[in-house]
Symmetry: D2
Subunit: 430 residues, 4 copies
């Protein structure tokens, strides 16, 4: 009994009947793909995997490799330097468009072929062999298992890859590619021919959704800011010429590939992957697009939909009598981001009178706090203490360490609410 699997299976069952689209046929190896192959996998931030249909069928990753290699290059060069070579604007064009910026020859974004070629060429390495080894290593780390290359697909891609060679030559002539064009195209063909399953892709997407930390293996694959940047680029450039419609309908950063793979990432929630070879006119897998739309509607996952659930950070703001003294007690729970911290500080301010008094802040239900939140909180507490309040905090977050960096931590810290209350009701209060 598992409602997530239930939902995926219901979607899988219904969309299995969808008979639209055409399997890519520009090379025989892709044309032979089974049009009925249809697998879904979802990996949560806790590393749990849910599946529907055969999610272990191998296929080549193709363009779905692009965001992951982009994240790798972000780590190698840093965002500013990488931006000098590869743009981040949607091109409004097909995947193999020649979208080079006039003047600089910079490709529009890393999700079109030109940008992907440039990105691959920028991965730091001594020569193409090491470069591909790093690319394969990166993809494997995202997937959480060693991946390999489908040599037959690679050979076919290489045999028909004139357009990508053309793009590479164009970029070298424009000065936006330093590497050898033929070698660069070759590395990229190998990258596209890396073999994955829907389950692999779901782990890879979940790793991006989890800020670069693989939720299954626990390994940090890329730095968090680079995962965030990669998702941002996927949001505007990942779905070719329908980026606006996709973000409107599905509301998740995504990337598709010509072999029928599609990934989407819900930041902080999960990664999902669908495999189904038949493609629509834009080159996106028909069943995968429909499945994601269905999941978004059903699970309420739209990135612009953030329905105020987090507002319940402050679960209590009351006055408690203890030992004949009135103590203001503010209780909070959950994680402290901007919004939660704002709500907490607002409650504190509201409850504490101008004249000195007694305050207990119960943070034992708070699981984690962003550094900024901790700093802000410490500042407010220090201010209250300075104004004569007797302040006790029950917490396990080690707020004092943040606070110590700027303010004298003169409030008392306890491990439990009870201990804090007891101390706050003590003699030496205001």
């Amino acid at each position: 009994m598992d409602p997530v699997t239930d939902a995926l299976e219901e979607i899988h069952h219904r969309l299995g009947a969808l008979r639209e689209g055409r399997v890519a046929d520009y090379i025989p190896q892709l044309a032979h793909a089974d049009p009925d192959a249809f697998g879904i996998a979802l990996v949560s931030m806790g590393g749990n995997t849910y599946r529907a249909g055969p999610a272990d069928t191998p296929f080549t990753i193709q363009s779905v490799s692009k965001p992951f290699v982009y994240a790798l290059a972000l780590g190698d060069l840093g965002p500013a330097e990488l931006l000098r070579h590869v743009g981040v604007e949607p091109s409004g064009n097909a995947f193999n468009a020649i979208s080079l910026e006039p003047g600089t020859g910079r490709p529009a974004n890393p999700m079109i072929n030109a940008g992907a070629l440039a990105t691959t060429a920028l991965v730091r390495a001594d020569g193409p062999a090491e470069r591909f080894a790093r690319v394969l290593g990166c993809l494997s780390a995202f997937a959480g298992r060693p991946l390999d290359v489908d040599e037959e697909v690679y050979a076919s891609e290489a045999a028909t890859g004139d357009r990508n060679r053309a793009l590479a030559y164009l970029m070298r002539s424009a000065g936006s590619l330093r590497a050898d064009p033929v070698e660069t195209a070759d590395t990229y063909f190998r990258q596209c021919a890396v073999r994955v399953t829907a389950a692999d892709l779901a782990v890879m997407a979940a790793t991006l959704a989890n800020g670069g930390l693989n939720p299954v293996t626990g390994v940090r694959v890329v730095a968090e800011p680079d995962a965030v940047r990669t998702l941002a680029v996927m949001a505007t450039c990942g779905m070719y010429d329908g980026a606006g419609q996709w973000l409107l309908d599905v509301g998740l950063p995504a990337k598709s590939g010509v072999s029928g793979g599609l990934i989407a990432a819900s930041p902080g929630r999960f990664g999902v992957a669908v495999h189904s070879p038949p493609l629509d006119a834009s080159g996106n897998p028909v069943r995968a697009v429909a499945a994601l739309g269905e999941m978004a509607r059903r699970f309420g996952l739209h990135i612009m939909h953030n329905s105020g659930l987090h507002a319940a950070t402050v679960t209590g703001a009351e006055r408690v009598e203890r030992a004949g003294r009135s103590i203001a007690v503010v209780t909070a729970q959950g994680g402290l981001e901007f919004t939660e911290t704002e709500a907490l500080l607002y409650a504190l301010r509201d409850l504490t009178p101008p004249e000195p008094g007694r305050l207990v802040l119960d943070l034992t239900g708070v699981s984690r706090a962003l550094p900024g939140a901790a700093t802000a909180l410490a500042a407010v507490l220090a201010d209250l203490v300075a104004r004569g309040h007797r302040v006790a905090v029950a917490e396990t977050l080690r707020l004092e360490r943040a606070a110590a960096q700027g303010h004298a931590p003169t409030w008392a810290v306890f491990g439990t609410r009870e201990a804090a209350l007891t101390w706050a009701a003590g003699e030496d209060g205001a």
Copy 2:
């Protein structure tokens, strides 16, 4: 003492020194704007307002009106019908670009002038006077106070508005506009000349961030899905030709106007507005863009950054001895969306053995649950009961009502954890 205000003031102070950009001068009324005017306002989901600089200086709303009127038209026509008239794809062009879809004459998106004209013309009304009254009413509801028109600016816009009239004629000739072109342009000029302050715009943005419910007045202005759609369109089309870079750097849906206004919305968190007349080459206010970038970095607000804080839904999963019986106790807190529910169900499944046992689910810390979450939870509980488990739930969410729609609610419900534990340890358990 208020760290949010502190941060805003620090940003305001630092960026006040920025002397780049040029005040728009295509009409004298805009050219006279004070280049030093610089106000910031932020409104949280709790309806709290934070300010830095003069946030009550009036100026005309200009293009910042576009997303709000789009949300209004979404409600009038529904998304499918509106999409037939106005696209949602980034145009990669300047604000006054002629981005009409070949064949249909449909403007690319509602954030460029052509799309805004078409959107305004679609607002349901008997004639232009009523149409503008509805537009003004909508903007006022978003702002939470009655707004009015700067008649002088309106007159100047009307006198120099040939390009917008041209766009309207083009669309009527292409069949994508039914209304009279000159009247449509006139209504749009009045819409752009509506007078607002930075504080107003922050409330308006916060209303979008809050799913269409004005967090200050408590009035629902537009339906939640329409607010979500509007934010999605802002994310890809709101910042003219730098949408990709903006989403990468700032990571928030936004919209700017030629009079120096800029809004951004952090879904479920806050709305923010900056007013500063000098514009950069793309037509975006220089200080406002810098301020948003700074806030995003400082507050960690990037929409793709969702750092797993919510994962701490399950705060306890343990076995408790009570009255000599071993009871599995799962404790959760916060809001239950997809991710939280998934984590909770996973914990339940993990802790309950195949053979019948005793289970307490403590949801007293759970503030709210999406309907889907409640349904899924009820299904799992019903299944456990059916398999012979003795299940008690401590909650105030009325899960049973959701459950009753599909499953016999045979588990026990209590208001406190203690009561649930006591009952779970009772005689008639497994």
Copy 3:
């Protein structure tokens, strides 16, 4: 018995069977045109008219008016000033394309609607009524008879002319149009609704081919350089998006209109017009395009085909004994342009030895000489005389007048070859 008419009739007969294309139907008045209407007319430089089919059926001139009004505006403003407002580059786009130059808003050329609107607006006049009167007067002078307006077509064009109004507004907003947009469009609609016949259009085209002098009425309509410029613009911009193919196949400057008219001009030879309403996908009349291709092939009229016929300028270069003296005699005929003059001068140089001798230049067969040719010839003759030659010229061209402007005309001039020979054989020779 007339071979030109024979050829036209044969072409007319054969192409009458062509059943492709569709009559324009954007207004009912055009949609009612008879698809079988098919007339051809050709007017030679001598003013002779040849016809096949009904060449007197009236129809509205539509876009065929564009080159004539352009020629009028060239006269009003001069080419440099007109170029500041209307470009001369092919746009590679459809007739109603928005081809405004970035920055200036200048339309690409006067053969697309935007350029035609701008051109009409530049015709010098006090107000729209006088402006249209001048346009109508110009078209009538080209046709050699008073033309009038089809008021019904005009009214329909005005009722459906939003796109042209849009173009006019766009240009005024871009600063490339000063006049009132609605008035400008209205004048242009009247211009397009002027009623002509195929025979009229042939006279009009012949007037351009004849350097602006109407070969039927003998009236100079526009200055010769302006006629030449107009033909040059027609050559690159007249046939919409197939300019290159048209110049390759037909090799004549041409212009077509939506009502089925097509004109072509063979400079210095003739003007031709065809009327046949069904249009191809590019908006050009199917039978007219085919008829022109046929004529070009059959008559050898390609503008790049200039088959050396003129090389026979020098018909004799010999030594003649007269009165015991050897006289070099050079005989020429025809017109003297650059090439002919070059050939003549070369023969003179070739036949005259370094030492002084006797020379007769028989130009009695020369019908006309360009001023530059006469000047060059006079210079060479003066040089020969200065070097001691006894030179007699038989001519009626008044070469001496050209010569007198720079050289002492010391050669003898006679009306006949015989007189020249007699004098050249005289006593006082070298």
Copy 4:
């Protein structure tokens, strides 16, 4: 003493002072070109050469090779087949633009690099070595002397030719190029590195102007229709993005190259070439463009300027009394093309009454007649004879041979006017 040379030298002298433009520097071998090098050469249809400045300085032909190799390919494939691979429309873009037709991948025209690469690859040959040998042989035949390759320039072009390789790969991937991309680019680099002088280029241009027959060597290099087609393509596509302006101002088909060469051809008149390395922003040689403009103005060479000089074909149309009989005598001279024939036939018809009479047609001054003209004339004469006229023709054109192909040649033919008159006045007349 030579006025043509005088004019060229005057232009050369004046423009030598022009100091604008920049020598191409993308390879060192071009960057070293002397910016003061400035030579002009003109070759007439009679094969005479005129020069100003050093016209024998060698430089590489670069893009000026394009029209000549296009003419060669026209002969190899025929125009219809070649058109399937290379279009003929102006691209409105820079010389190295990627103007491939959507769908087919066909380059826009043979004057841009993509089209030139495709054209070179289509030259029939067994392998690249033979292909280049044929290209070199063709260029040499146009120049009238064996040309060779500047190996140093070739090597540099090859080293920096990535953009051309990119274009070749793009075309192969689009299916519009079958040959090996790297080999094709290499052949093209060698073609561009062929060494010529201004004098060579003038002969080459004159050969095109002369219908493909080299006027200096007398060798036919390409068929006349192919020369005409090549000039038509030069007229619309030869001067990059200023084709319309060039045709307006100069009115001659032309082609420029990056090493400073520029050719122009006046059909039936001459070919001209200028060499001057500094280029303007469009990549055209500054002094060469100015020199051509000057020549066009001075010599009256505009292709749309055909000033009615040929109208004087009929030099006499009179009634002569001879032996008491009235004889209609029509005298003509010059070449008989369409226009001249039309004028002659018109005079014949005008002078001959319905009732049978006597007619002499004096064609002794006619130098040449197009086949169509001879046929039309023979038809008219046969008709007159059939109607009972006594017709004598004085001519040396062998009209009867054309006539015999369709009509009984029953008119009398004589070598002189006098003999014709005598016979026409004879007894057996009407």
